[in-house]
Amino acid sequence: MSNEKIQAGLEKYNASVEKAISRFPERPHLPEQRLYTPLDIKDTDYADEIGFPGMYPYTRGVQPTMYRGRFWTMRMYAGFSTAAESNKRYRYLIESGATGLSCAFDLPTQIGYDSDDAISEGEVGKVGVAIDSLADMEVLFDKIDLGKVSTSMTINAPASVLLAMYIAVAEKQGVPADQLKGTIQNDILKEYAARGTYIFPPRPSMRLITNIFEYCSKNVPKWNTISISGYHIREAGSTASQEIAFTIADGIAYCEAAIKAGLHIDDFAGRLSFFWNAHNNVLEEVAKFRASRRVWAKVMKERFHAEKPKSMMLRVHTQTAGSMLTAQQPNNNIVRVALQTAAAVMGGTQSLHTNSRDEALALPTEESVMIALRTQQIVAYESGLADVIDPLAGSYYVEALTNKIEKEAWEYINKIDEIGGAVAAIEKGYIQKEIQDSAYKWQMDVESGAKTIVGVNKFQVEEEPPKGLLKVDASVGVAQCERLHAMKAKRDNDAVKAALADLKAACQDENENLMPHILKAVHTYATLGEICGVMREVFGEYEAHVNL
């Protein structure tokens, strides 16, 4: 059909709509455009903009066969209490068919404090596992073959230290570093903008990150050195377009820092990975995944002149949206997570964590985690969604939405360029303010009823408080401190002192790569708090400025 014919048909249809809505008004708060036709994507060049899986600009996916070869990695984020408890949960997950590990660390670990630090009181083992030294890390991965499993660690400011501990545990297992597979989050910029577990100011933080890029490119070549994360930006309240735009702007900043440090784009870009949120609006999410791949491919090719295809591929881990889980009628969350899973899979994710139904209330129980994992397995094996590549391509709506999200993302990226890049935009509070405004709008839309959340502002029922929630007892903190003190009494404290002095000198020399020095300190059983303490002394700490 020619475009003229479609246009004529559309006009006829629009006239009929006018008549229909005069009798039956549409629901309020809908997207402006009700229907998409070939006219909405008439300017989209298939070969240039959509193309083929595994080929530039990767709109349709990063691998040629996608899930027809192998499903995404089913990677469940877990960790709580002590290393021994978390080790049990990891082995349970592996036995249940999880294909990768994902470690959650408690807040003291994430912010570089030991469990016996005054500021750690009440937080030890709460949102993840407490790791004070290599001794805890040895327990965490006991009887787990690090040569076989791939491990993702949600660790940012002290990522270098936890990576060093992982390498050291592997060494003790007899697994060489160049065999290790996994990811460290290592994305400090989104910590300043959205997640809050920063330690040092941006400059030394960027140095630590580029040190890791360089060290791993030579010594741990299969390791994903960063997971540039939009997940937390979205959780903090951003829109879909803001999620990918702010994250890709962060990605640009990391590349620029690494290039400035003397690295070549194709030597590290292939190890960069991303982390998206799978939110409630299924089709918008699918379009977001597709748009993000296209934007990143263009950034790498046109801005950084990358030549290796791998450098241009946006590989992504996904987690379903924690902030969309409701405390009300928690079993409804199973359905939300299933839809979000469908979006992530149709969007072409490389790995996925599915949230558990009870996470608006507490850490998930084993039974809830099992349902969440089974949700992925049902989508993989039963739904058919994984059988044909990029199944929504060619939908007038999804292609138009992909174009729209891409356009909005470029507008933000250009704006951030004008401000002076992501670091400057964060220092000026621009990104934080944009996210806060979106979060506030969302909340007001829910309160006005413009947005319906089932069980929260519609279809509410009287409920009994849920039973059987997982609780981390306060005694965990006490026991962890005792273990820490026992370990300190046993280690060679002179060796620790020497290693920390060596690390301090290295911190003061900007041209020195810190990784070998951190690894050396880790081997002496210097604690995370001691190592980060030395870095705090030299680098100082970041102070946030909040504009409400």
């Binding site: 807040l107 003291p108 994430q110 912010i111 404090y113 500021i119 750690s120 009181e121 009440g122 937080e123 709460k126 949102v127 910590e191 997640r195 809050g196 577990t197 959780e235 903090a236 309240g237 902030s323 409701t326 405390a327 009300q328 608006a360 209330l361 507490a362 850490l363 806060q436 979060a439 506030y440 909340q443 829910v446 309160e447 959340i453 929260v456 502002n457 408080p465 849920p466 929630l469 609780k471 981390v472 306060a474 946030a544 909040v546 409400l548």
Partner: protein, 130 residues
């Protein structure tokens, strides 16, 4: 003119989730209160001191990390120790229903859990501030 109600929105502990705290801070401001937000990673001592310095009527704390059983009561005690007997202390976050009685026992006037409309917090403050 009637004195405007002053609220300290505070993030005790190491938790970095501040979407809720910021949304509540803004909603309280839009409701006509004067709002001071502490920012992240405040010790109970820092929060009590800020409450005193800012001469607030309300301290509103938010924790999503599970550290509330330890930190909420600590803030209450320090605020009272500094002689702020009339200051209304409320809390919110990912807090299991079963933890709430103990928090109230410790002096937290009300606990707001996920899904609470900000208007409920505004109404509670208006009804209970002294």
């Amino acid at each position: 003119m009637e004195k405007r109600i002053r609220v300290l929105v505070a993030k005790p502990g190491l938790d970095g989730h501040d979407r809720g705290a910021k949304v509540v801070a803004r909603a309280l401001r839009d409701a006509g209160f004067e709002v001071i937000y502490t920012g992240l990673r405040q010790t109970p001592e820092q929060i009590a001191e800020a409450a005193l310095q800012e001469d607030v009527n309300v301290v509103a704390m938010s924790i999503l990390s599970g550290a509330h059983p330890h930190l909420f009561p600590k803030v209450v005690n320090l605020v009272r120790e500094k002689g702020m007997d009339d200051v209304l202390i409320i809390g919110g976050g990912v807090i299991p229903e079963t933890d709430i009685p103990a928090l109230k026992e410790a002096g937290v006037a009300e606990v707001f859990t996920p899904g609470t409309p900000t208007s409920a917090i505004v109404d509670f403050i208006k009804a209970n501030v002294k």
